[in-house]
């Protein structure tokens, strides 16, 4: 039996198709795929969710108050009553960890996000438009980067005063310049890519090109910068608070706890280890989550 040419062509198409049919991937599918492919990312995701919930539900989880002092039992080691021991004021470390989580998680994530957005937008405009916009934005970035970040943060906080919103603002202003430099460099490259040229020839406006073609292709870099900025923010904030410029003691934040706990490192190491471990868990969590997102969002990694 000789297969007709037409039939063969159809069969060939079928075989090709079976390997290539696609449908629109929605957000849920994306998440499900990540769950399948990257278990670490999923675990990290849940750990972070857990931390957020614990921080939010702090009053319910602990019988102690945030600043409840008990000078009779100061610097006591972890025990049944105080699972993570007490600090120099007799306050329960676990309680302070939970309340501090509220502050530190916010401090870590919000400025990192804000500086990412600000830096990316400015970086893309500087790189794509060039000319005056580029000059102005880059000079601003240079000035920002010329100062040691700690010093800059101190100056801004001093000018603005304390309080958490000002801390957000300060950390954003300190961190945006790095992001914009990197995004600008990527933009310069992507601007000259063939697909950007193709979009220009099609008639797509500059703004749309920046939004639809350039920024999405900067996504891997942006995700990495995001995860790197989080610990930077937490640690900067800790120093600020220590100097009395950020979160005022006796309120808790992880960074502050580490800074005050340093003096007691020999006799009461849990004062540093507990918040230190918490910071590490947060940073790693966001890191792994970021990597997982990166893989999932990269079209080239999509398995059929």
């Amino acid at each position: 039996m000789i297969l007709t040419r037409r039939k063969q062509a159809e069969q060939a198409m079928d075989i090709a198709l079976q390997s290539q049919i696609g449908e629109e991937e929605r957000f849920g599918d994306l998440m499900r795929r990540m769950a399948r492919e990257n278990k670490t990312a999923v675990i990290s995701f849940f750990i972070i969710i857990l931390m957020i919930l614990a921080a939010a539900a702090a009053p319910l989880l602990t019988p102690y108050g945030e600043n409840e002092m008990d000078l009779m039992h100061r610097l006591s080691a972890p025990s049944a009553e105080h699972l993570l021991g007490t600090d120099e004021g007799g306050r329960d470390v676990l309680t302070r960890l939970l309340y501090g989580a509220r502050v530190s998680l916010l401090i870590g994530v919000v400025p990192a996000l804000l500086s990412l957005i600000l830096g990316a937008v400015l970086g893309v405009i500087a790189g794509y438009r060039g000319g005056i916009a580029d000059a102005v934005i880059m000079r601003l970035a240079d000035v920002t980067l010329a100062f040691p970040s700690m010093l800059l943060a101190m100056v801004i906080m001093y000018a603005l005063g304390g309080g958490i919103l000002n801390v957000f603002l300060t950390l954003t202003l300190v961190n945006w310049a790095n992001v914009s430099r990197v995004v600008r460099a990527q933009t310069l490259q992507l601007k000259n890519s063939e697909f950007a040229e193709a979009a220009r020839i099609t008639g797509v406006s500059g703004g749309k090109i920046m939004r639809r073609h350039i920024l999405p292709n900067c996504l891997p870099t942006l995700l990495v910068l995001f995860t790197l900025n989080i610990p930077a923010s937490i640690l900067t904030e800790s120093s600020l608070s220590f100097l009395g410029l950020g979160i005022q003691p006796p309120n808790a934040s992880w960074g502050l706890m580490i800074n005050t706990g340093r003096q007691y490192l020999y006799n009461a190491p849990w004062l540093c280890f507990a918040p230190g471990a918490a910071i590490m868990l947060t940073v790693l969590g966001f890191n792994f989550l970021g990597n997982g997102l990166l893989d999932v969002l990269d079209p080239r990694q999509k398995k059929q």
């Binding site: 696609g22 697909f195 979009a199 008639g203 749309k208 639809r212 079209p299 080239r300």
Partner: protein, 320 residues
Amino acid sequence: MSEYLVEARGITKEFSAGRRKTIHAVSGVDLAIREGETMGLVGESGCGKSTLGRLLIRALPPTGGEVLYRGRNITAMKEAEFAPLRKEMQLVFQDPYASLDPRMTVRDLAAEPIETWYPGEKREEVTRRVKELLHAAGMPEEFLYRYPHQFSGGQRQRIGIARAIAANPSFIVLDEPVSALDVSVQNQILNLLKELKTSRKLTYLFISHDLNVVRYLADRVCVMFLGKICETGPTEDVYRHPRHPYTRFLLDAVPAPDPSRRGTAVRMLKGEPPSPADPPSGCRFRTRCPYATDLCAKEEPAPRETGGTVTACHHPLREE
């Protein structure tokens, strides 16, 4: 109304390459393309053909000269005035991979021109149009939500072509559209291009270094060397009776899939290709031309017409 769809008059493009070094990519070129024809543009690498193609659709600003579209000077126009004309002229790229945004699906890539030029349309309507385009380009609609890297070179080129015709242009510049493809796929794409030209009433500028491919599609052909046009004329005339020595050498050099021609000495060019940063005086081809004389070094040959073909040479070849 001009008789030509696209016309270049004395168009020049120079790139600066570091201190005091200028690349003369295109120098004072005149070219005219009639509506409905396919004009072939051949030449080797560095001759400026890709640059010329882009100059014609204002994808690059010229250093000198002007380009007319339907009689209107588009070089002199400000961006706002020219913007609506962009729809009329499109480009198909050589590298079917690099010209497609790797993060966009086939649907979005083909939809972009539609969304740009017909902005009011609803999403479903746009998707329907995209399916029509893919169909016209010979791609099954099942491929709608896949990404460029999942396709072969030929399929990617079809996506590129679908994009180019999406907004219903009149003029398409095809920059080496099949050079990166295997011979059978190449033929499929060439068949497609020919069919689209008729069904959509398109005008093509077909740029290629492959003389066989150009001969197949082009009504007229234009040969370029180092930023200048050597010869322009009806395809068959130029191929059968080339007048410019460079054209002759190009035609001779193409290896024919015919073993009986083995061992026949191929006429070779002298010396090495000159650089576009430092073109020879007078006729730019003279350092490689075995027929060059003193006149060729002193004076640049002006284009002269003989029987339908325009040649720029002091000593054009006579018919053999």
